[in-house]
Symmetry: D2
């Protein structure tokens, strides 16, 4: 019987992997994790690769293989690996008896077609797509608790879905109106590989839109809000900062509402969900309130007609948008308080 508190982390070279290491090394309920890389280049310890960890994160570094992980006795694996690698690795690890939290896009969709259309990837076998549970604990806590494979959501998608779900579930949005999701992200969301457009001089004092009508997080938003591709316009922007996503979301309500109504709707929906914080009517969250945390902060403004609603949703793309949410999912799988190691 495997111990889920014994953890393997695969792929620790990117920003998400680093953040995952930072959170798990401080997690009070788990043993110090082992870290796996495709090529360790002779390094034996995490702190050799990342000097930040010297003196407190001297965790072992190992060469990746399914056998190495399976024979290590680990009960849980976190995969911070590219889609293709996760697509292969996750099923093997689950079959070996581990529970898996995968941070790639490989298992986020029930439909194989979504993956081939939006990601241009061969989809994993259908049984694995239906096995996987989409990992937003505020929406799917009970499924996550018993899941063998959790598909950790995209960062933009988390920000948008958490903002829209109370409205769509209450059927407040006027049909035949557009839902505009204008999202702004810091540069760590684009990954760590050197790219000309991520050079400091190209991002600093700059701002740009990208991925209009084509961003891969679109189908997650559709699947988990129930909105159609015709309704949603989802745009993404690169902002000159390292961490964080702020989404400004524009909705037309079917019936006029008061600001108090809107606040109550959100507060009720997220009652007992400490990682989503609702802001009082008339106040708005800012990125700095959630940087380096696992919170998603949501505020709004309503116009005087009571029908035009602007929702502002903030999170740290490496926290609630990736590594933080992965650990929050893991806490649910373990049956412990969801905010453990996340405050």
């Amino acid at each position: 019987m495997r111990d889920p508190r014994q953890i393997a982390v695969v792929g620790v070279t990117g920003y998400t992997g680093l953040e995952l290491a930072r959170i798990l090394l401080r997690h009070p309920a788990v043993q110090p994790p082992a870290f796996y890389l495709r090529e360790t280049n002779g390094a034996k310890c995490l702190a050799e690769l990342f000097p930040q960890f010297r003196g407190w994160g001297e965790a072992p570094l190992r060469t990746l293989s399914v056998d190495a992980i399976a024979s290590s006795g680990a009960g849980t694996a976190f995969l911070a690996t590219p889609h293709e690698v996760s697509a292969e690795l996750a099923p093997s690890l689950v079959e070996a008896g581990l529970r898996v939290v995968d941070l790639s896009g490989a298992f986020r969709f029930r439909s194989a077609e979504t993956l081939t259309t939006w990601y241009k990837l061969a989809a994993p076998p259908a049984e694995w797509l239906s096995e996987a549970v989409y990992g937003i604990p505020e929406l799917y806590a009970s499924e996550i608790a018993t899941a063998r494979l959790v598909a950790n959501p995209g960062c933009y998608a988390t920000s948008v879905i958490l903002a829209l779900r109370p409205l769509t579930q209450a059927r407040w949005i006027a049909p035949d109106t557009s839902v505009i999701c204008d999202c702004k992200s810091g540069a760590s969301g684009a990954g760590k590989d050197p790219r000309r457009d991520l050079h400091f001089v190209e991002v600093d004092e700059n701002f740009k839109a990208y991925g209009l009508f084509t961003h891969r997080h679109t189908p997650e938003i559709l699947d988990h809000t129930g909105l159609t591709e015709e309704q949603v316009v989802f745009s993404t922007h690169l902002s000159p900062l390292a961490r964080g996503i702020l989404s400004t979301i524009y909705v037309t309500l079917e019936q006029p509402q008061t600001a108090a109504d809107v606040e109550v709707l959100y507060r009720r929906f997220y009652a007992g969900r400490p990682m989503v914080r609702i802001w009082a009517a008339g106040t708005l969250p800012e990125l700095q309130h959630v940087a380096h945390t696992n919170f998603c902060d949501i505020g709004f403004a309503l116009d005087k007609s009571g029908r035009r609603l602007v929702v502002v949703s903030c999170l740290d793309n490496l926290g609630k948008g990736a590594a933080g949410q992965a650990v929050q999912n893991f806490n649910h799988m373990l049956g412990i308080e969801e905010q453990t190691s996340l405050q």
Copy 2:
């Protein structure tokens, strides 16, 4: 007879005033301007206040009064002053025979009510409101050429109006749909006065929305696009950079269009207007392309239905959004090429 090439600049302590000084000191068609301040604190020369100008901008600094300006022989005055100061100063200077470009909001509206509602200010006399010409040369060149008083537009408003006007003039926007204007600005747009929320540490690595449904540039947008307050949602955001505005504008078209159609519409509208640059379908402008320039760059993306259009409009809030456009207006008043000193 006053010489319009002899220039008085009033209020040179803010970021807009500085940029105005920078452009006018290099302007080939004018004499070195004189700069007026309410309190010079003994300084006699611009470079004493702003070391940037040492060695090339040693222009005289004078204590502000209508008489001082009128008796100096100046033929044109630029006012980079607060709304209240401009409201008093501009009529007096025009009556003294000068032509005035005012960068405040005091003369931007025909309706006094707009000013009292949105700015909480006593409006100047009605005859001065109707005397003033709204200074977007791409739209009102001939009126500007002969104006005695030009009201230089707001920075956000310029960015949004230039993006929307070709669509509204062609009547392409579907009635009863929302036009969403999601605008992001750098911190120089908020002025130079020390404020807690403009402290470096508060803006750096932060991002926030503000002014939802209440921003003062709203009525300019309505006046010059013909859209109604019910149609337009205009939001503004503070971004961690010094200069620039990027507006992402979401429109639903009444009839499906092709990307080529949209590009042609914009290119025709701005043919012969060198300061607005249209981007080819499938490409989008970025802030760095317009920083420190007087250009407004406009690009777009159209979804496959041909009805949902996203327009991206970029400009430098101190350039085309303020001082640059003021000089462009002045060039029209002078009858010289509009881009003089602006490239």
Copy 3:
């Protein structure tokens, strides 16, 4: 008998106070602290002032008075208050039976003259100056353990003293040579009050030197390295980032040394001191390695003559440079592991 684990934090409006709150609210060995302000303006809870703390830092906020703190049963007080306030408050609280960690400059010097010369302040009574222990635990752990009043050091001073002390104690520095300390800091070190020179636009894309030959941290450096004012040149610079100090220190050694010798000297000096991390010869620390931590990282380069040594010392000015070190001192006072709540 007062419980030292019951804590009062005075002055929580600045960046240091906030960081202190963040660390103490997570500290496993203490009860949730109470926070005191001169004016609470009706707020009853920390999270009302700082939305970052919503949901996890809902600590009580109280109006400051010695009586209120004394009667609360608190056993330890942290003072993140201006020099003048600390000078009055600290003795009263110690006399009431509390132990105090003061983050101001008021008790950092034995000599009253130093305070009047460098800070232009009336010094506290001499007995309090000699009562206070200078709070660098790597140098004065045993005195701190029993102190009633700890004077928490300046941020620049900590960075420089930790880098120089191994060299001065070993008497390696050539007499009659200059020791150059070229220090670069982020903007949070300058405090949170709005100031024209701390406006985002003034700091962003800028860099400047200040305080040459006059910086208040100079006498701390002299006192705790034994160097004279004639030997040390200490310069400070404002860098466009929020948190962190990097000091580049230039020393001429009396005898030629090898890089291995230098590394051994530092490693031995800081053996058993986990919060100072020595970098291997040929490698250098960067600010990002210590941001949001309580580490001071020290590396060096030696020229081929073996006599010209450059030491690079990095820390987070709000961490090891202020709030982190304050808690490290407190941990020593409590007799628990010094890194508690600091990793």
Copy 4:
């Protein structure tokens, strides 16, 4: 007979090349330059590569060859090419009758050994090394005026040499004391190629030292100040900003001086040299004062002994540190005012 006002610019893909294009396209005394690249990838016009130039910098783009340049009739070539490319290209172009300003390090040294030691490069033939003139116009104006080949200096070297030369020429520096040059640069100085350590997230909110005792600009500093390698410690740092170098330079004077003496020394040395601005005693320049200019601003602080002097020198690494100075040199070659197109 070639016309020196007809210009070829080789290598326009980096930040220096871009800045050169920006300055030369506005230069009133030259014809629109032609731009040469090793591979144009089908682009025919500069603005196709760099959208910044659309509408005003639609200059022709050509495939690089000595023949193409020679047969174009160009009289002057600017080389913003790698050292190896310049080493081959410059002599060929001079032999074809052009005058050349080379921005690489290939011709900066009289001694071939310097190049092989510091740059690990095969040196050009000795006659070309002695043919080349080192291009700091404030020091070598008459040689530059008649030069066929100008070696444009390094950015750090320019900043340090301009600060030290008045002192070394006056023999004010005490022998046997160290001259410490602590230099901080923005990220554009490291070039435009994508590199892991230049990713936005690695530079933002970071600060680091590099190149201690090994930086390639060291021999330029020695050659043009007359100081020895034993005397000079030259360190470089990467700062989170795009453009600019600030050098803080520490000198021990042989004789005590007053601040007035120091100011006079600098003012006299740079009298009639408008691109170097001396700051009054007690004031210091900042990077923002010189960003996007060709100025080098120099200020200083003197301690009360009158012997310890700190000199602060600022410039834009793409302006006076590279492209700006290249054009300043060109203006001298042309015999026109040196600041033409540079204000």
